[in-house]
Symmetry: D2
Subunit: 209 residues, 4 copies
Amino acid sequence: MGQWDRFLEPYKQAVDELKIKFKGMRAQYEIENVHSPIEFVTGRVKPLASIYDKCLEKGVSFEPSRKLAEELQDIAGLRIMCQFVDDIETVVNQLRMRNDLRVIEEKDYIAKNKESGYRSYHMIIEYPVQTVHGEIQILAEIQIRTLAMNFWASIEHSLNYKYKGLFPQEIQLRLKRAAEAAFSLDEEMSQIRDEVREAQKYFSEYKET
Amino acid sequence: MGQWDRFLEPYKQAVDELKIKFKGMRAQYEIENVHSPIEFVTGRVKPLASIYDKCLEKGVSFEPSRKLAEELQDIAGLRIMCQFVDDIETVVNQLRMRNDLRVIEEKDYIAKNKESGYRSYHMIIEYPVQTVHGEIQILAEIQIRTLAMNFWASIEHSLNYKYKGLFPQEIQLRLKRAAEAAFSLDEEMSQIRDEVREAQKYFSEYKET
Amino acid sequence: MGQWDRFLEPYKQAVDELKIKFKGMRAQYEIENVHSPIEFVTGRVKPLASIYDKCLEKGVSFEPSRKLAEELQDIAGLRIMCQFVDDIETVVNQLRMRNDLRVIEEKDYIAKNKESGYRSYHMIIEYPVQTVHGEIQILAEIQIRTLAMNFWASIEHSLNYKYKGLFPQEIQLRLKRAAEAAFSLDEEMSQIRDEVREAQKYFSEYKET
Amino acid sequence: MGQWDRFLEPYKQAVDELKIKFKGMRAQYEIENVHSPIEFVTGRVKPLASIYDKCLEKGVSFEPSRKLAEELQDIAGLRIMCQFVDDIETVVNQLRMRNDLRVIEEKDYIAKNKESGYRSYHMIIEYPVQTVHGEIQILAEIQIRTLAMNFWASIEHSLNYKYKGLFPQEIQLRLKRAAEAAFSLDEEMSQIRDEVREAQKYFSEYKET
């Protein structure tokens, strides 16, 4: 257990730092009275049980090692939720611009969503953590999505654990309908987007008096 | 300013305490491997500018006073977000059961939603705060809603500030369509609810190994 | 493990709530521009290993039970640090006044310090926690002390674990000298107390402009 | 006010990030079962009223500007508290080693304490903050001290505000005696240091079983 604690500590540190940093972006937009593309931010270190599963799946030996750190790119995971679909692009551009992390891979499951209906934008980044023994580089996965995408994903994730991806037809149908409902909420939101943005600006200015 | 700070301090205290308490409910469900009806909890003390507006609207004089404390029941505001529509009832029942607060009014804008399309369950509670000068009773408003309801409400709230409730027909139409999309997401979620709940249970049990 | 998690959960909840409450007292004093008798607040749930040791010592069976909850009164522990020795009395009086907890025992190790040199004021309280299954009463121990007392106590605590209370004479002598140095710091602080308090008041008023 | 908010925002961000980072150092020592040279960490952005005073004192115009950012090096302030005097050196070395900040000045008020009796180790650092408009460099002051040093400093700070440094002889004498008491507590602690460190190690290992 001690070995795993030591191995996971820099991941925990990275998650804590990145959460503070991404929440800070939101605060900056608010101070400047601009619509924030970031609604909220969550983060987690992958639980040991899920690391174990992933190791089985990938054929990597379940022990704290450099190999495991390279193969499992989502031990540190951040999630950024957006109000509108096109806020996602703004966030992606912001992340590419930062000097404190290096984007090493991007997967756009929105332009081209997964068969399952999953929609999200993924970035794998390299992030330097300063430890008491010197700097080490950590991989982290950042998922960027709207609230509706997140909603659907959390449901699919739960069901997946039960059915191991082999959904009965009934469930499959319902999941599809939920995905459509989530998609259509995003669509309606996009329609109303410019109005809301302008109103939010007005709203913040108003509050300041 | 000092007068307002002193007046608002117990409200801030109430919000902090209630947030810890409601988040604690979520933690308890998780430890017991049961689906938590609480997804997340937010809270805020009403900003002075909004207190000012509300005073104008209600014809109450804008000064820290017992009168104002009685008339403005949402100076302390808590929001509890749920995954499924029928989680809301579970939360409401839990709150009625607590000995550390007293429910003094309930408004069900879900069974009978507002003309605007707003859906949410509101409770006004009385909550005792211990100050260094003794106990005082504080009113607080708790809003309980699904994520989709919350989504729609935050948009309507922004637009309302701009148009003061007098939406152009175009906006009105779009708001209505967004409300329908949010409603239909909630409907689809309810259809799939029992499946997800069982899967979540399975999911948590699995993680424990 | 699941059993212990469930047993300890309300203690964790109590510690979180009491920390927020005692920190709130400090905030109130500050808003009123009065010297705060509370410098800072910490809290913890007793680690399982220490619960195990205490069970051995007390001859209580090591399992989550009503008996254990009655015998171990410090499973939930809060610590309140004060700037001056006589702030401790102010805090004690404040705690006696609160309606959200019930003091059931007090031990004054300052008026009459332990042979070891340990100084601190202890209160055992009963605190109601609202769980999803209803209200339960929790015992908690509150230690109130100056920073100098705390300093000495943390050192004695570490050494105690190594020597099991049987200190070599050399160590005993050094501990005694450290206790005297801590005591004399508290004495000097008391001498200067009224000056500092008045200055703190002046200080806060000044800042407000 | 909006101008100052925008000017101070990156300082707030720097303080939040550095707090998380320095607290993380503590966590790493604990996981490795080694005595942590860091006891606790605090941080603050200098209040506007104090910025105003400092501007007067330094003859800098009181407005958000590059000039002000260069002259006032402690707008972002961090404080690291240590248990033992010689932990301070360990912390200083750790900070010099980090790649995420650049030390630009060090002042050792311990080897050579101020006339007033003030003891502390100061570092001025440059720290890059990523804003939504790109990276900017921020100056921050880090004060490293023992709890006893901190104790004395907080008292002297309060009195200074009242007397503007012109202490009556009576006060001066008492402050001097308090400084001596703080110093002698640090001395006694140093004497007992190795014993405590070894015991802490033993203590943590014990807990792990």
